[in-house]
Symmetry: C2
Subunit: 201 residues, 2 copies
């Protein structure tokens, strides 16, 4: 019960576990303190407010993209989507942090570097990175909302959703995931084709 | 206090007002019933659950896009963004409804029709509509998260945000809105250029 018995890393890891198990609405400083068996005030020594905690979680989620030099835009965008989907409500955590002006520097840097490596100037690359970031966040957000509704059994045409059995829901999920990956790739290809068309102007 | 003293239209209009004044997390069936001075059970006569209410609100938000024949993809996508931004948390209401499998038929239909009118087949048009829908939802969601954080004064680099005066924040908002419109147009142009590049293949 020592107020400083946990490192910032312990706090962030426990917060990620609560996020993944219960979702963002249930990730409160109070719940986090209870899970760590400390007073809420002990958390503020590491994270002065919830926004700084979310920014740390956002950095950890995005860090799953990769390390090393950025590769091509398609690979980086897919890696970002995969990273967002790794944790429940991952898209919302990262988008919230961006909206707070706290940034997702790794994601922006890697996407920008991939476009620069493809031979475009830094300004164009930055704007393309912003487009891809919004596209990936919007897409992953939608996928995670679907998962959330599926988990509480409310998705589908009205009350019919509640009738689906566990196996049926599983098969539908697998089908939906494949369809989502196809749709995601289609949109990404469109953006990349648009980028390459700029060269011809 | 008659339990059926309000039409479905009254209920939906009051729900939109609560949404716009207080945001989606505060739009509960209980709060809606209190605002209409009825018992919560009276609402279920019109909307059997919150999902069907949100679907109705989503339809009303998207209906602001336009009526009449669909025009070009750029115009339709801009109209969708404007419609989503008309009501607080509009992007979240529409995305939730889509994720529930209840659809946003008007938005999908208008975006698809715009691509078909540009000379593409229906399958391609449907996939392009899905891409644009995700892009616009992701973008508008981000804009509305920023507005939300600005309104509670937590946005900016850590604690510094609280120091901004009302005039400074207003100017920053106007600048941010202009920047957002530029970024939105850039990404949309990229998607449209990608679509047109497909013709050349």
């Amino acid at each position: 019960m020592a107020p400083r018995g946990h490192s910032a890393d312990d706090v962030a890891r426990t917060a990620l576990r609560i996020l993944d198990d219960h979702g963002l609405p249930d990730l409160t400083m109070r719940r986090l303190a209870t899970a760590l068996e400390v007073q809420p005030s002990a958390l503020y020594w590491h994270f002065p407010n919830k926004q700084t905690l979310l920014a740390e979680l956002s950095d950890r989620i995005v860090a799953r993209m990769a390390s090393g030099a950025a590769t091509d835009l398609r690979t980086e965008a897919r890696a970002l989507r995969d990273a967002l989907l790794t944790y429940r409500d991952g898209a919302e955590v990262v988008s919230s942090t961006l909206a707070l002006g706290l940034g997702a520097p790794l994601a922006t840097d890697r996407l920008t570097a991939a476009v620069v490596a493809d031979g475009f100037d830094a300004e164009t690359a930055g704007r393309v990175a912003t487009t891809v970031l919004h596209y990936v966040l919007g897409f992953a957000w939608h996928e995670q909302q679907r998962l959330q509704y599926d988990s509480v059994g409310v998705r589908g045409e009205g009350a019919g959703a509640a009738l689906r059995g566990a196996n049926g829901a599983g098969a539908a999920d697998a089908g939906a995931a494949g369809l989502a990956s196809d749709d995601f790739a289609f949109g990404l290809d469109l953006i990349i084709a648009g980028l390459h068309a700029r060269r011809r102007v």
